[in-house]
């Protein structure tokens, strides 16, 4: 009797875990969200999207901001390198293209680097981008 109960419970648990994994597995690519510290720094305009496809520190630099930005840029670089290889492009070409898209994807209030090199705040108007951007 006890054994039966345990089996039932463990079966239920396994099924639950399987369902959760399935949902989680499906959801992860679409719902992977920014780290709260990154999201906060982004909306506060402390970090911005650079033209070269990487994140930059906009205002005064702090050790925490540097760590955050370096961490994300290392991850971005790894992704760029992988995709650049897959698309027969160079790392710089792929990163610059991603920069075009990342600047386009900024939300109003966020910072991005204009072709002049200056940091601009994104408004509802289209961002100022490199003339080669699609």
């Amino acid at each position: 009797m006890g054994d039966m109960m345990t089996k039932r419970i463990s079966k239920g648990l396994l099924a639950g875990v399987a369902i959760a994994t399935a949902i989680g597995g499906l959801a992860t690519p679409a719902f992977a969200q920014r780290d709260p510290a990154y999201a906060a720094a982004r909306s506060a305009g402390q970090v911005g999207e650079k033209m070269d496809g990487y994140l930059g520190i906009v205002g005064p630099s702090t050790p925490e901001l540097r760590r955050l930005v370096n961490d994300i840029n290392i991850k971005r670089r790894a992704v760029y390198a992988e995709r650049a290889k897959a698309t027969n492009a160079t790392l710089e070409e792929y990163a610059l293209t991603a920069g075009c898209q990342a600047i386009l994807a900024t939300a109003p209030g966020e910072k991005y680097q204009a072709p002049s090199g200056n940091w601009e705040t994104r408004t509802s108007a289209p961002p100022m981008r490199d003339s080669r951007c699609p």
């Binding site: 969200q33 033209m51 698309t87 710089e92 792929y94 293209t97 075009c100 090199g117 490199d130």
Partner: protein
């Protein structure tokens, strides 16, 4: 004539070499050289200070052509969506 002139010339020459004035002129020459060096150093300094304006970032990517960016645009857009946590 030649004896007299020579005598005067050699006298003057000797006097010039033994004078403390000679030292002064050396010092002046040195000062002039130093001044020239300082000026040239100053000039090179100005050039290095003036150079880093802004377009350095753009120049780094100037070899990347628009058609390449257009080809990669869709893939890069997908990459950003799929890695929303780092973008």
């Amino acid at each position: 004539m030649s004896a007299m002139t020579n005598g005067k010339l050699t006298d003057r020459a000797r006097a010039a070499t033994s004078l403390a004035m000679q030292g002064e002129s050396k010092a002046r020459r040195f000062a002039r050289m130093a001044a020239t060096m300082f000026v040239s150093l100053g000039l090179t300094g100005c050039i290095t200070v003036n150079a880093p304006e802004e377009p350095i970032v753009i120049e780094l990517n100037v070899n990347i052509r628009q058609e390449v960016i257009y080809r990669l645009a869709e893939d890069a857009g997908n990459t950003i969506e799929e890695n929303a946590d780092i973008f």
